[in-house]
Amino acid sequence: MSRFSIFSLARNAMSWHQNWPRQWRSPDPKPEYDVVIIGAGGHGLATAYYLAKEHGITNVAVIEKGWLGGGNTGRNTTIVRSNYLWDESGLFYENAMKLWENLSQELNYNVMFSQRGVLNLAHNLGDVRESIRRVNANNLNGIDAEWLNAEQVKEFCPIINISKDSRYPVMGATLQRRGGTARHDAVAWGYARGADDMGVDVIQNCEVQGLMIDNGTVKGVRTSLGDIKAKKVAMACAGHTSVVADMAGIRLPIESHPLQALVSEPMKPVIDCVVMSNAVHVYVSQSDKGELVMGAGIDAYVGYSQRGSLHVIEDQLGSAMELFPLFSRTRMMRSWGGIVDTCPDASPIVGKTPVKNLYVNAGWGTGGFKATPGAGWCYAHTIAKDEPHDLNAAFSIDRFITGALVDEHGAAGVAH
Amino acid sequence: MVDTFRNSIIAHKEQAMINGSVSGDQGVNLSEIPFLAQVNIRGNVEDKKFVSAVKKVVGVAVPTDPNTYVTKGDFTVFWLGPDEWQVVGPVDGQDDLVTKLRDALDGLHVAVIDVSGNRTALDLTGAQARNVMKKSCRLDMDAQSFTPGQAVQTRVGKAPVLLQMLDDKPTYRMFVRPSFAEYLVDWLLDAMGEYHHL
């Protein structure tokens, strides 16, 4: 792999950039792989990368019905944080955070991970109580978290309206300084390039049409490009997990919902951090291009349409205007939808399935992007060792039978 | 005897409603009609005993067409659901009405509940009233679609209301829960604002 750097850029500039190699190949599927990963989003590609890097398993295919990184990886609002409430989630996301912090160097691909700080606003006494509870849990888990009062919030994010008469008075906020944003496409591309370099086949425009299962053990996948044998098959297909799992006769506690986001026209910087408010379904940051990147709430109904209803955005912007009055005169330039797979306890499922050698990584709701490196890392371990890592042991399907849920509605909620 | 103990929850908005109203034939007028008698009836419309008993008291059979109301004398009966109606009568009429209904319906599987305090009423009337409603309500408000004789449960602004089309002036009557009343008044006055500037 030719290393990226200012020097390689300069060198290639001399030859008018004619000699840059492909960042990844477009191989035809081999008849058999040790591991076939379904879904070339951030999670699938990261899993392949760590399978190769950490476990030396390189005979791996990542198959994708569309284009790599084209699902939720390329549709989210790029927020990264690890300030989750429960030990299981907090430690899992913190592991991801640590991987984020070196990801550009690890992948030799600038994913523009920008730790500009994430504020989670509190608008009522219940919010305040839960925020402090979460800050303390984070601190004891070694996750950076602070509680700011309204004035400190104003100091950190000067454009925010902390007036007491506001419809949504700001009573304070939690701050995770190490939280921030990243360039979502670059994450997928960086992992794809890294995995490809270690011999992983990333096969795009290859749609899964069935799973080959022989008395309770998965043997491969049937695809639009023909059958592919596999010793192990790992699902990493987010919103479509139920559809693929159904091919194996597996039912999951997952519902897929439309989740909308939008960007404004690019403007000179007005907000330098990430602000999230569960209560009013607003979360916003400003991209390096100057666009306000905002997310809305999840549409209530099951949907695979990658489009939501305008009223969700209208209501969200009403709330946003109360928090950031100056947003009123900018414009929505583009809006879009993703399909988020949600679990009843707002926590993911990462582990084994009732079918031998078939693995599932799903149910991320709105946490998927921020989890990418950690999910890939743990999932790779789970696949390689055929048992979950301590960090994802709690996120099994069984918890819905035993009742040991990891209820993150408080901390995850609609927030991203 | 007149009840001197009662207060409308939006009594303090009276002046604002007067000031916010726009006079003239292109105007629009907002006012409160407080303290109407309101009784909620649940029952089985298949049961002839139920239907006739109600009719005996209020003078008219409960409407079975969704989104409609019928008026007879002092009483107006609104369809709220397949087994739910609301009778609206004159101020102070509720006690008598409830007693008569409970007696008439005794022994049937019904519910007769005095809900006179559960909603107050706002009248929006005048040439611009329809436009104000179009700004406020997601239903088809055009003259051919929503006509006198119709009433719907829906939202005006973000407030749940029972919305009655009274006449072609047009006049809309909104039955709104007291906790939402001030919000609804503020919303409607805001929506009426531009007609001061025509």
């Binding site: 749609e207 559809v243 159904d246 597996i250 506690p253 099951v302 949907g303 039978i401 | -």
Partner: protein, 117 residues
Amino acid sequence: MLYIKCPWCGERDETEYHYGGEAHIVRPENPDELTDAEWAEYVFMRTNTKGVHRERWVHSDGCRRWFNVARNTVTNEIVSVYKTGEKPDLPEAVTTKPAPAKKAAAKKAPVKKKEGA
């Protein structure tokens, strides 16, 4: 903004309703006789259909009735609206009742072909 026809009140905007999740999941008669897994199946497991999905809505701002909607979750086309206890009139391919995993998988094969994965 979906436009949903309440079986009683007629067509209203989505905002007047609340979504009630997958339809036709019947509460077990005797929960005590179920294994934990069977109970979890009732409480948590969902079909999450890509394609025509039978789901429940309640007309919260209107008549407060719960009813069923068959909606294509890809196009949002509403195929059928029917009252609780009624049967929808749907093309055979999509009327297979979601339920115990394996059977469902086998049965729903035609749907899958149609909808793709």
